[in-house]
Every structure is written in C-alpha cells, then in structure tokens.
Symmetry: C3
Subunit: 467 residues, 3 copies
C-alpha cells in the first residue's frame, strides 16, 4: 500500500479539493512538538538506533497490546521480564512474529504511522507480511546504520523546530545539559513531570520525596520545604528551557485546602501512609499547588487524567508498568476542577491544557469549560484517540462550543521517534479534512480555513506552549 | 461571506439535491416558537431597539463567554457589575472590540446566526472585522431607527405564528396583558417557570414563597396552600394563553413522597433551611407535583436539567447569573425520572418534553424512554447543542429508537430576537440534510421525507405544544 | 418503497462502488447466527406460522413499544394481559392498527427489517399503510399457509448454516432433542442462559434453585452442589451442541469472593433473602464462577449488561416482562469486570464476548479492554443499537483501538424469525460501507477490505463461537 497523496481527505471531490489546497500550504510547516516522550539521551549521544524490532515493536505499547490481545505473549516479543526469566532475544524472530500479525492493525492508526515511516524514511512501499518480513528487516537494518538515520539528522530531516521531552521531577536533566553543551542547534526542552513526588501511590514515593527535598538543599521533609523543593526544581527545569509541566492523575480531582490542613495531609501520606481517599486528596491538592506555581513561574500546566493504570495485575507483576494494560474510565471535570478553577481559572496569564480519555467530556464538559475560563485550553485527542476518527470527533464535538482558539494544536505524545512526522501528518490531514467540510458546507470561507490550518499546525502550539 | 443558498446541506450532489428540494418546500413555513426568552415588553411597547452592541453583544452569553475565554473582560464589553463600578459605556467601542475578536467564532453557531441576521435583515454581506466595524455599526444603527425594525414589524417579517416567552411564577404578566389589550394580532404567550418558588437554592426563595402564596389570596404558608397557589397561578397563566410550563433543575431527579412527608419537607425548606439533599429532594418532589397538575390543566411540561449553574464564583460575585459560566454535567434520566413516570408516564393526555446537556443520554436513555412512555417527548438539542453538528447528532442518535414523532420540532430558546429566523433556518436545513441522507441511502422515500420536513418544521411543535 | 440494491451504501460514487463490490462477494455467504431467541419448537414441529399480526406485531417489542409511545394500548394490539381480561383477538384488526401507524417507524431499523421481509419473502414491494393493510394481510396469510413458509424450509431458504437459541438453565431441551431425533440436517444449538438460577431477583428464584440442584441428581441445596449442578447442566447443554452461555445482568459487576464467603452469600440469598447489595454481589460472583467453568468446558461466555428491566411497574403488573419497558443505563466495565479479569482475563483459551447498551463504553472502555485482554472480544451493537447508524458508530468508535479481530461479527439476537435475513443483510451492508470508506480514504487496500468483509460476515462468528 503506497502512501496515497489524498489519504485521510474527504471522499467527495468538492471538499477533497479544498482539503488538498489547504494541506498543500501546511504540509511542510515545521514540527512543533510540545509534549512527548522521546529520550533526551538520543539527541545527546546521537548514536544509531538498533534493529527494527527494538525500534518499532518492543517499545510501542500500541503494538504489543494488540498482539497480546490475540494470544501472542510478551515474552515472544522480547519484552524484559522483571524476574529476569529469558525472553526472545532475536530481533529478527520478533520482527517476523510482528509481520505475521500485521493484519491485526487494519483500521488502526498504528497501521498509518508505520506505513508512513516505512515508505517515507526507508522507501518501503510494500505491505508488511510474513512473506517480506525478512527483506524489510534487512532493508531497515541497513539504513539504520547510516549517518542520516542518527537522531540529530532525523531531527533536521523531520523539520522539527522544537521538541519537548517528559522528565521526572527527580531527573538531573544531564542529557539536556549535554545537548546544550554540544553546541547542536536542535531545540530539545524538558517538561516537569512530578508524578514520582506528588502521587503517594507511585512506587518509592516516601524515598522519592525525601530525595526531592534534600536535592533542593533543604533538610526537614516538611510541607513548606516540599513546596519549596518544587519551586527550586521548576526553576531548574525552566533554566534548561522547560515551558510546561505535566500531570498524569487517576482523576481530574483538585482541592484547595488551607495550608495547615495541606501540611497535615502531607504528614499523613509522606511516609506511605494515608487512606486511598487521603492519597487521592493529596494528588488533588498538588494539582492546585502546581497551578499556583504556574501562575508565578509561567509553566504551562498539562493535566492528563482518567487512566486506570496497571489494570492487569498478573501482567504488572511480570513486566511492570506501561505494558498496554492502562484502561480509560469515566472522568468528571466539572466538579473535579472547580476548587482549582475557583482559585486560578480567571487568570488569563495562566494556561492549563486539559486532556481526556473520556470522549463524552468533549462536548459536555471540556468545550464549555474551555469556552469560558481564560486559563483553560483543550489539548488534542490523546492516546487511544490520537487517530483519524478520534481527531475528527474531537473537532466535531468541541468546535461549536469552544471554537478553534481554545485548542492548542497537536501533541504527538510519543516515544516512537520515527513516527513523529507520520503523526503530525495525520493531524494536519484531519484538520484540513474537517475545515474542508466547513468550507464546503459554506460555514467558513476558504481564506479563513487556510489561516486556521496554519494556526492549528503551527501557530497555536507555539503560542499555547510559549515556544 | 455571503449567505450561500446551499449552506449546511450535504456536500454530495445527490443528497444535496434532495435537501434543496425538501428545504424549498419548508423554508417559508411560519415560525412556531414554543420556548424562548424574548422580552414580552418589546412586543407591548414596540419601541426601537438600541444600538448594535446592546442588541447583539451585551445580552448574548454565547458571545461574551467566548470573548471572556480569550482574555476580554466583561467590563470591556459593557456588562453591568453588581457593585456599580464603571464599565465600558460606549456601544461603538464595545462593537469594535467584538469585531476585532469575531474570528474566534469560526466554526460556531454564533457565526451562522449573526451572519444570517446581518445579511438578511441589514443587507450586510461582508465578513465582520476590525476594518469594517465602524461602517457595520453605523449601518445597523441607522436601520434600527426605522419603523420596520420595531419588534412587531419584525414579528411579521419573521413570519412568526406564535411565540412563547418564559415568565417567573411571580410575574404579573403585565406586558402580556398590554399586548393583548393593544389589539395587535401577534400571538405572544407566557410560559409558567416556577424556579423562584420551587428551588430552595434560588435567591430569595423564602420571600418568594411567601409572596407567591399571598399573591394567590391565601394566608398561611402551608404545603396545601403552596400547592393551591401553583394551581391558581397556572390558571392565571393559562388564561393569558400559556400552554406550557418550564423547569430548569440541576438534575432530572423526581420524587413521589406521600403528602404528609412532602408537607414536612416543605416546612423544612420554606424558610431557607434544609440540607443540600433535602433541597434537592424538594425540587424532585415539585417536578412530580407539576406533572400531576399538568395532567389536570393540560400545560405541557418542559424539563431542562443538568446545568451546573454559576460555576465561577468570582464572576458570579461580580456580575450575577447567566454570565456564560453554566457548565453541563453528566445527567441520569432512567432512575431520576422513575418516581414521576411511575405516576404519570403512561398517560397519553400528558406531554412532558425532556431536554439534555448530556448528549450521551440521547441514545442510551432519552430515545428509549420517549420510545416507550406515552407521556414523554424529546425536546430539540439545547443550548451548547443548538448547532448544526449538535442537531445532526441528535437525529442520528435518537431517531433509530424513538423515531421522529416522539420529538417536538425546534425551540429557538433565545433572547436574541433578531437571531430567531436564523436559528429556525439552521434547524430546518439540518433536518433536511438528515432526511436527504436517509433518502439517498434508500432508507426513506422522498415523499415521506417531505412530509417529515414539514412536520419537524411546523406540525410537530404546534401539536406537541398545543398551539 | 422497493428494496433498492444500493440501500445503506455510502452516497458518494467512489465508496459506493467499493461497497457494491465488497457486498457482491459476501451477500450470499451462509448465515451464522450464534445468538438469538427463536423458538426451538418451531424447528422441531415445523408447523406453519399463523397470521401476520401474530407473526410480525404481537411478539415484537420494537414494534409495540413505538405504538405504545404514541398512545396505542397493548390491549388493542392483542397482547395478553396477566389478569386474563379480554384483549383484541382479531389479527386483521391488529394488523390494520399497525398499518395505520406504520409511518411512525420512518428512520428506524424496524422499517428496514419489515420491508425487507415483505419484499423478499412475500413479494410485497408497496409501502404499508391503511389503504393496503387488508390486501397485504391477505397476501401474507395466503403464503404463510404454503409449505415453503414452514420453519425448516425457511431455514434452508435463508441460507442458515447454524443458529443458536437461548435456553433457560432449567430447560430440558426437549425441542432440541426432537430436532436432532428428526434427522433434519439443520443445525440448531442451545445456549446456556442461567438467569433464573443465578439472579436472586428473578421470579421464583428459590424454587428455581431447588429444582435446579435436584435436577442434577443432588440432594442438599448447598453452594458446592449448586455449582456442581451448573457443571452438570452445562455438560447437558454441550452434549446437545451448545457452544456458549449467555448472561443478562443489570450491571457488568463481577466478584471473586473466596469460596467460604461465596457459600455464605449463597446461603443468604438462596431462599429469597439478602439485601439489594447482597443480591447484586451474588450475581457478580456468579459471573466469575461461570467464567471459571467456561475456562474448563470451553463454553463461550456472553455478557449482556446494563438494562434497567421492567422500568414501568404499571405495565409490568398488567402484562409482565419484555413489554418494551427495559431502558439502558450508564454501565461501567473497567472496574466492574476487574475481579473476573484478574482471574481469567489473560487466558487465550477462554472467550468472553462483551455487549453494551451504553455506547459511551465503546471507545472509552470496551475497545481498550478487548484490545488488551486475550480472553475478551466485543459483541456487535445490541438491541437499540442493532441499526444502521448504531452499527456504523460501533465500527467508528471501536476499530481504531481494538481492530476488527477483537470483534465477533454479527448477532441477530431476535425472536422474529422472518427478519433474520434482513438483519444480517443490514449488518453486511454497513460493514461494507464502513470498509469502503476506509478504502476510499486510502487507509486500507481493497483486497484487505474484502478479506475483512468475509471475516466479519462469516469467519469471525464461526471462530469466536466455535461453530
């Protein structure tokens, strides 16, 4: 299946023509990637990527969750077990297994991303399958060894203008320092992700908090010192270019306790204590504290709520987290965000970007909230919804209430570096398809649609994330 | 952007042709507006509307919520503050600010409504923007001064056959009396809206209830007298042409307490007492009481549940209610309505029209309920969903289970008088677009679609609201 | 309205052509009907169906719920009352009443099913209405008397390869035995449906449980004997060809109590005792017990949760269950299924097919769950959503996350035997329409779409249900 130039455009000739014209103007705009999970070490060391299986299969939870759902074991895919028991070590065998099951991805975004990468980067236009698995493996392997497939060369080739990584609040950002020290002109920014020190259910939370406070040069693990450690570390991140923080919580709940109550709550949970409700309340309080700090230091605040993490305990025991077993659940925003919004929602200097795994919230809660509060913006469709139909539903459900300018353009949100151009391309095509329909239905003029297409692809992410 | 004759029709030539033919037959049908918020005083006094800002910007929460979300203050828009602090008083400056931000409304129904009004009423076909703001302001102002832009002249010009206002149960309907006394043949009907006396959280509830009971010529503020006051006031409304009541509650909850328990609950809440649960229970009980009375006096009962009102306390403190800070929330109907339906749901003489701000209820709860209970009908998409895509979703999600004849046609629900033709036009176009798809997919014959288009635009609202 | 060969296909010529080509290849594939409610007695006795009203109107809750919602009484439709009071007995009068209200079904799947049956089976291509009600009645009646309209002849004519009925765990399967004893080569399979003995709220539960345990040749009504009775009866069903069980619960809740606690719970509820919570917990525990047994005996487990049954108490009192008064409600799967999935979710030998009446779960919960757990598959759109738009939404919302191969093809789920070809035809057409869009948008190659169309229509139901 060759990459068709009209892919994802509307089928009707009228809107398809409009979409083509819009897309032609934005296809080559630089990529601004304000939220994602690539590894800063790649840009620092600039070494060749290993084999195709390690590059495409083993780190991609979209891929191995689908294979697992159809009876392929993670061991066969070479995923490391916690107990060190042997797993498949031959990348070629893993690749063959993947190729044999490639048909499972029909109709999924993974299909689009991989085929785009194979075609555009590696010149492989045939459909992957058992019969060409070896040849494709060889062809990719050969090219990965070349200098033009090193991380920095790809950064240039992809037309990236800026890319943010996501970094633990405990991270020393050494790779970011190395990138800056190297004199390379690529713009790789850290993002402040404090889960390890704000979520009492995070593995090692008590030790994390102690290390965090001490790392800020403070002694006693007290609530004021803990907050001060956040301020110190946020400043540390900002000096390395960070413009945003990121918060992945089970719910969107926020709280605004008085500081004495917050200090007591901190004392309850800091050593691993506290009920489930108290731990949830602590996370809720910390969202509000982070918003307060954002108002001061200008970090854009991203909230990614609503995943039930590690839903599969057997899999978690054997392989750990991020193994494709995180499942969305119904997520309330209207009541959950109120304590935080009561405090900071009217402040236009602050930007809070909301994400969801519950699409019912788009039209019912998120668009009405973002269409009112100056501090709120809507993030793009996330995770399971980072897909053509998912993106189209987002625009259809959010635009009539929130407009376009309360959204922030696209986030690729990926650790799959090679898929980044494909992902931005899908988003640009779908936005053009949506705009083309509005034009074809005489709801928008084409010159406005073009301005919007440019803003959605480039202007909005730059401005919203202060890049 | 001139008004295109094919706007909102399907893009494909086949269904577009069908939609055109259907629309041509219904475009000029009279407007029946059974639910809305225009001011009866307009029709009574028939005075010229003031300037464009006062007409289009200041009273329209769709408009100022969007501007506010992007950092424009309500003071700049001339919205009166409760503390009397000065706000922008120059309509031209307000209009300029609005025009400068007009691009924010791309993709929203506000865009469609305003452009329809400007083009059709004022002959202004250019797109609004900073460069023509003054010229447009002048052109509108000039025309507003003319007799043909007075409320009654517009009523005729719009082809309105009947229009309902929404009136507090405490209202003396003096403007309605003035309209009738004037001999003008326009049909303006009141609607019984008892929030001020059935919602214990309504500002001034205790005083409202006392005044209400006394106003009915009764002395003691007792449960029986309170119910009797409703009967008296409903009859008062009916004598002035009312055919419906309207109920805006935080939830759809109903209750059917025995009368002794209801009397005790009334005594608990009537002076401002009662827990949150008791106040909610009182509202729930009152929906059932209203249904019981509707069964007797024939008023069609409208239920508009699910808005979290005044979500933004700072804004509420400064400007009061209806400032664009009402946010929908998840709304249950299946369990909430059961007590009331157990009592009256099987009665085909009663009509209860259900609305929602939670689109997930369309296919899951509302269509199955309305497709079974003789007393239930589905209101049109409401508020945030009074929009092209919102209307299309409603038909797509409700029709396969509830059909068309358990729906009631369109409500414009607006206080923006000049937008009424635009709003009905959008609804008619979208219904024709939906019907055209069914015909093009051979799910419906075109003669049936035409009958349906006529019923949806005219027959159903007349029959459902007994107009 | 004649049956148009392009009905339900996309309107655009490009995808319409693709859909036609796909459909041409699958239209005549055999019907595999792994879940439904036809009466095994029909196939055993092979007698003529009675008149049109008894065949089409009286047993079809889709039909009489719509008529009832518009003020037609169930008595007028000849539905038997529990108190034996007289109801309409003349099938011709019932049919006339139905024909008079046939316009109510515009836009509904009932319209498609009935017109398909009338045209294809009875050669009646005119639209039903008051003017031709008698003629149509006569024409159908006359044909029903012919041998080619007997159940077995229709089975052949419909091209059925296998059809499952749904049978109480208390059933002796005599009709299934009669079918097998008759030597007829049609394949009619029972399905194990244990509601009467696993749901403490089922009418007669205590007696049912006693009879069930005794029926297995066991004495004491104890938890171990009760479980053993399930094993015995499941084996009895399997020997008669059953490949699946079916479970219709108010929620999807599961539990995994230790056996001592489960035994105590059984003792609490078995004689009609227990709180609402305990009765719900018992149902939850039984889903897990059934999953455990399925893992051993290989029965595919179907879960149909989320209907609030008998929502209308007056109707229930007069007419009993299944009278069109079951209403869907919001249904959680992520937390509800966890206890069962913790136990069996990773077992690829087990197949659990999930259904829903809450469409919001498709993209938020069901596709993510089925796209991960090897034991899970998604059933087709159910009940209110067994409709063209309902099916299209299912594909649009589930495919991008779960793909096609975690779904199981179509279930007709009907007791309306004559509608079976129409229902499968609708599903095949909609799947072709969806696939055609993917091809037209260059997301899938046409040869893949054809393979998928064949799998969705035939291969997947056979494999998923082990037929």
């Amino acid at each position: 299946m060759a990459l068709h130039p009209d892919r994802l455009f509307p089928v009707e000739p009228g809107p398809r023509g409009i979409a083509r014209r819009l897309y032609a103007e934005i296809a080559r705009l630089p990529i601004v990637s304000p939220h994602g999970h690539t590894d800063p070490r790649w840009y620092a060391e600039d070494e060749a990527f290993p084999d195709p299986a390690t590059l495409f299969v083993k780190p991609d939870h979209y891929i191995f969750r689908m294979l697992y759902s159809q009876g392929v074991t993670l061991e066969e895919l070479g995923i490391q077990r916690r107990d060190g028991a042997p797993v498949e070590a031959d990348p070629r065998r893993i690749w063959r297994l993947f190729a044999k099951h490639w048909f499972l991805f029909r109709g999924t975004p993974t299909r689009l991303w991989l085929e785009h990468s194979l075609a555009d980067l590696f010149g492989i236009a045939e459909r992957l399958g058992p019969e060409n698995a070896d040849a494709v493996f060889d062809r990719i392997s050969e090219q990965l060894a070349r200098p033009e497939f090193r991380p920095r060369a790809l950064y240039e080739r992809f037309g990236i203008e800026a890319i943010a990584t996501t970094d633990s609040a405990l991270d020393d950002l050494r790779w970011h320092d190395r990138i800056r020290a190297s004199g390379w002109k690529g713009r790789v920014l850290p993002t402040y992700r404090p889960d390890a020190v704000v979520d009492p259910d995070f593995a090692g939370f008590p030790e994390n908090v102690s290390a965090f406070v001490r790392g800020a040069g403070l002694d006693a693990v007290t609530w004021p010192n803990y907050l001060e450690a956040h301020r110190v570390k946020r400043a540390f991140f900002r000096r390395r270019g960070a413009t945003a923080s990121d918060h992945g919580h089970p719910s969107a709940r926020t709280a605004d306790l008085d500081q004495a109550a917050a200090a007591r709550l901190f004392d309850t949970v800091r050593d691993g204590g506290g009920s489930a409700e108290e731990r949830e309340l602590f996370r809720a309080q910390m969202l509000t504290e982070m918003a307060r700090m954002s108002r001061e230091d200008g970090l854009v605040m991203q909230i990614h709520p609503g995943a039930v993490r590690n839903h599969n305990p057997a899999l978690f025991a054997a392989f750990g987290r991020d193994m494709g077993a995180d499942i969305p659940s119904a997520t309330d925003y209207v009541r959950a965000l109120k304590p935080m919004l009561d405090l900071v929602g009217n402040d236009p200097r602050l930007t809070i970007v909301l994400f969801t795994l519950d699409e019912t919230a788009y039209s019912r809660e998120l668009a009405p909230l973002a269409g009112h509060y100056p501090a709120l913006r809507l993030g793009p469709p996330w995770w399971f919804f980072d897909s053509p139909d998912g993106m189209m539903r987002f625009r259809e459900l959010a635009t009539e209430t929130a407009g376009f300018y309360n959204t922030v353009g696209f986030n690729d949100d990926t650790r799959a570096y090679l898929s980044i151009p494909a992902r931005h391309d899908v988003a640009r095509r779908i936005d053009c398809a949506y705009l083309a329909r509005l034009v074809a239905e005489h709801r928008l003029d084409e010159d406005e649609a073009l301005e919007l297409a440019q803003d959605l692809a480039y202007g909005l992410p730059k401005r919203a994330y202060r890049l």
